[in-house]
């Protein structure tokens, strides 16, 4: 993820100037928002479901050790293997080891943000194993050598013409920009891979502690392919994917698709409980579940940030965010974009890398309003801004200005004379009816004009009746 070191400001500026990208983004996000609004309006108990989902996630996240141990015992009882990884590297090495054990040279993958997070494809390539992304959007960006720009629609930043040219160049087929035909090309190319691969890798949408089931939700059927045809299935999950009971799953099924794509239910919800049993006709002989920490426990340790582990990765906060709609996912510099990414990246990658992200928000609160598990995203962004300031990572100019301001506010005489000075400067330099121009800052914003007379003056004149 090479973009990680480039500041948000620079990436955002570049993307804002890209007319094609902005058109692609606007079309896609508006489409998803309209579909979501219509799907949500059909459910009178929507708010109740959100509150319940929040309570379920809270119960799970507050008792992760209990539920993860229960889950592990259930998976093992059904014949599956469980591996705990503290770091992304440990998880990736374990995947490579399993592939090596089965002499696999090809691994087919269903869409998994967690695998992006740990750089799994790179690790597989280095070990001589070809990872093939099978979600159409992921397949497109893998061909393009890019990273996903959206949690659920990874190639949302590309137009059909761009995809047509990409297929022509990389797959050697004749040019078409018909989505139907492009999809058929991908279908036939990937069918071969599905039938060849001995290892399938997937993420996990929900892990049910009570039954040891892993739940996978896909529209294309690639999730089913990856977990049906290969001899080995490796499922990668963050510790926060756990839900306590099988009944809890119902609530999330009613929320997820409507929030994400505006569908009433996603095409395929697969509930997998263990590897193939003797009586089963097909399915993987081996099931490996990898439970990954990768800095999630640091989030857990922070009482104000704990809620960000409730996220079910629906992508609704991305679609609704006025900043995401304009700058796109790649501007955020790491795998998780949008408002939830602006929370997760500083938490998981540290404030040095994610310092600017809490400011990539208008704090309008639209993200929190659409979140199906009621995460208070914009409040967390405020908390993160506080951490940035507390850790002295804010720009030195800003720190200086705030210090001067604090010093002035504490001294009444100085305050009054500064106010007089400011009025004088405004008269000299500001345009009519506008506030003082502040270098840099005033390019996109207006400083509010000062009142003609200060409160003090009015008070002295007795004009406050």
């Amino acid at each position: 993820m090479s973009s990680g070191t480039i500041p948000f400001k620079n990436l955002a500026r570049k993307n804002l100037a890209d007319v094609q990208l902005r058109g692609n983004l606007l079309r896609a996000t508006q489409h998803s928002l309209a579909a979501r609004a219509s799907a949500v309006s059909e459910v009178p108990e929507w708010e109740l479901l959100r509150t319940a989902a929040h309570a379920i996630k809270k119960e799970a996240v507050d008792h992760l050790a209990t539920y993860l141990e229960q889950f592990e015992a259930q998976v093992q009882a059904s014949g599956g293997h469980v591996f705990w990884a503290q770091t992304g590297r440990q998880a990736a090495e374990h995947v490579v080891a399993i592939c090596g054990h089965h002499q696999a040279t090809l691994a087919i993958k269903a869409k998994s943000m967690t695998s992006e997070e740990i750089g799994l494809n790179q690790a597989l390539l280095e070990a001589g194993i070809e990872p093939v992304e099978t979600d159409l959007g992921e397949y497109i960006i893998q061909l393009a050598g890019e990273t996903p720009s959206h949690i659920t629609a990874p190639a949302l930043h590309k137009s059909r013409a761009q995809i047509g040219k990409l297929f022509q160049e990389k797959l050697g087929c004749s040019y078409t920009d018909d989505p139907q035909k492009l999809t058929q090309i991908a279908r036939s190319r990937l069918r071969e891979k599905f039938l060849q691969a001995s290892v399938g890798i997937s993420g996990v949408n929900f892990a049910v502690a009570e039954t040891g089931s892993i739940v996978l939700i896909t529209n294309e059927g690639n999730g089913r392919m990856c977990t049906t045809l290969p001899r080995v299935h490796i499922a990668l999950m963050g510790i926060e994917k756990i839900i306590p009971t099988f009944d809890d799953l119902q609530i999330f099924l009613r929320l997820l698709a409507r929030s994400s794509t505006g569908q009433r239910l996603t095409s395929y919800v697969s509930i997998i409980s263990g590897p193939r049993k003797t009586a089963d006709f097909d399915g993987p002989e081996e099931l490996h579940v990898i439970i990954l920490d990768n800095e999630r426990t640091s989030i857990l340790a922070h009482p104000h940030m704990r809620e960000s582990l409730f996220c079910i990765r629906c992508g609704a906060c991305l679609n609704t965010c006025p900043v995401y709609q304009r700058v796109g996912g790649h501007a955020y510099g790491w795998v998780y974009p949008g408002p939830i990414g602006a929370v997760l990246t500083p938490e998981m990658q540290g404030l040095t890398r994610g310092r600017e992200l809490p400011y990539a928000s208008s704090l309008c609160g639209s993200c929190s309003a659409v979140c199906p598990v009621k995460i208070n995203i914009h409040h967390m962004l405020l908390w993160l801004r506080k951490s940035v300031v507390d850790s002295r990572r804010s720009p030195w100019t800003e720190r200086l200005i705030i210090r001067i301001f604090a010093a002035v506010m504490k001294r009444p005489r100085l305050y009054r004379s500064s106010a007089r000075l400011a009025r004088l400067l405004e008269k000299l330099f500001a345009k009519r009816g506008k506030g003082l121009p502040v270098p840099g800052w005033s390019l996109h914003r207006d400083f509010p004009p000062l009142a003609k007379q200060s409160f003090h003056d009015l008070w002295k004149q007795g004009g406050l009746s």
Partner: protein, 237 residues
């Protein structure tokens, strides 16, 4: 650097245990569940009779790009299957292992037609030889189902016996045979009636809602990505 997996597990669990809140917090979740359960009984909007739900199923399935056909009785299912296979020129047909298919003796009925080549547990000496490639060659895969949820046109399918998970996935058309008594209104109606988490779950259970689809290219809806291009339900009774 290699670390001992058992040690990693221990360290991680120990850390998680120190970060656990007291067990008494669970009351909020139970309270929410109670509210959800009571709200379900109050909600009287939407279809009420089975006929209305079947209509809902028909229109929702159609909206998703699927198709509902009806048969007057169980005995009329085989001819409805033959009609579908003939009009679509499906020759290679895979039959799943299901009570309903046995009951209507579908394999025998289809065997009366020389044009069809059947793949089922009887036509295979060792049924497990037919995994993957053989099923991928079939144009039509026929299964029963556990239930159909009308509101969302969702088929609940446990993959057991011959054909397993592949039979409903690899052929270009997936045909589901069901009886009206298997139709439920909403997801919660099915959930409440069957208590799905209580019994032993099958290795794989899938909720199927329409043919496979994507909107990954400019949000344009395309049906038939990796799974079946077509989904047809024949409902009897």
């Amino acid at each position: 650097m290699t670390t001992d997996p058992a040690l990693t597990r221990q360290v991680l669990l120990a850390r998680l245990r120190t970060l656990e809140l007291s067990a008494s917090q669970d009351s909020a979740r139970s309270r929410q569940w109670e509210e959800i359960r009571s709200s379900a009984t109050e909600d009287l909007s939407g279809p009420t009779s089975l006929d209305q739900w079947v209509n809902q199923l028909r229109s929702e399935l159609q909206r998703l790009g699927g198709e509902l056909r009806t048969a007057a009785s169980l005995n009329d299912i085989p001819s409805a299957v033959v009609d579908l296979a003939r009009e679509s020129r499906y020759k290679r047909i895979a039959l799943g292992d299901d009570r309903l298919l046995e009951e209507i003796r579908l394999a025998d009925q289809l065997n009366n037609f020389v044009e069809f080549r059947l793949l089922d547990k009887r036509s295979a000496s060792n049924p497990k030889d037919h995994a993957g490639p053989a099923l991928a060659q079939c144009q039509l895969g026929i299964t029963g189902c556990q239930a159909i949820i009308a509101e969302t046109a969702t088929i609940v399918l446990d993959h057991q016996g011959f054909g397993g998970r592949s039979l409903s996935l690899l052929p270009e058309c997936h045909l589901v045979l069901a009886q009206r008594s298997q139709v439920f209104g909403r997801l919660r109606d099915w959930w409440n009636a069957t208590q799905p988490g209580r019994d032993n779950l099958p290795t794989c259970r899938t909720f199927i809602t329409g043919p496979s689809r994507t909107a990954d290219i400019e949000k344009v809806l395309v049906t038939g990505v990796h799974g079946p291009l077509r989904l047809v339900v024949i409902l009897a009774g």
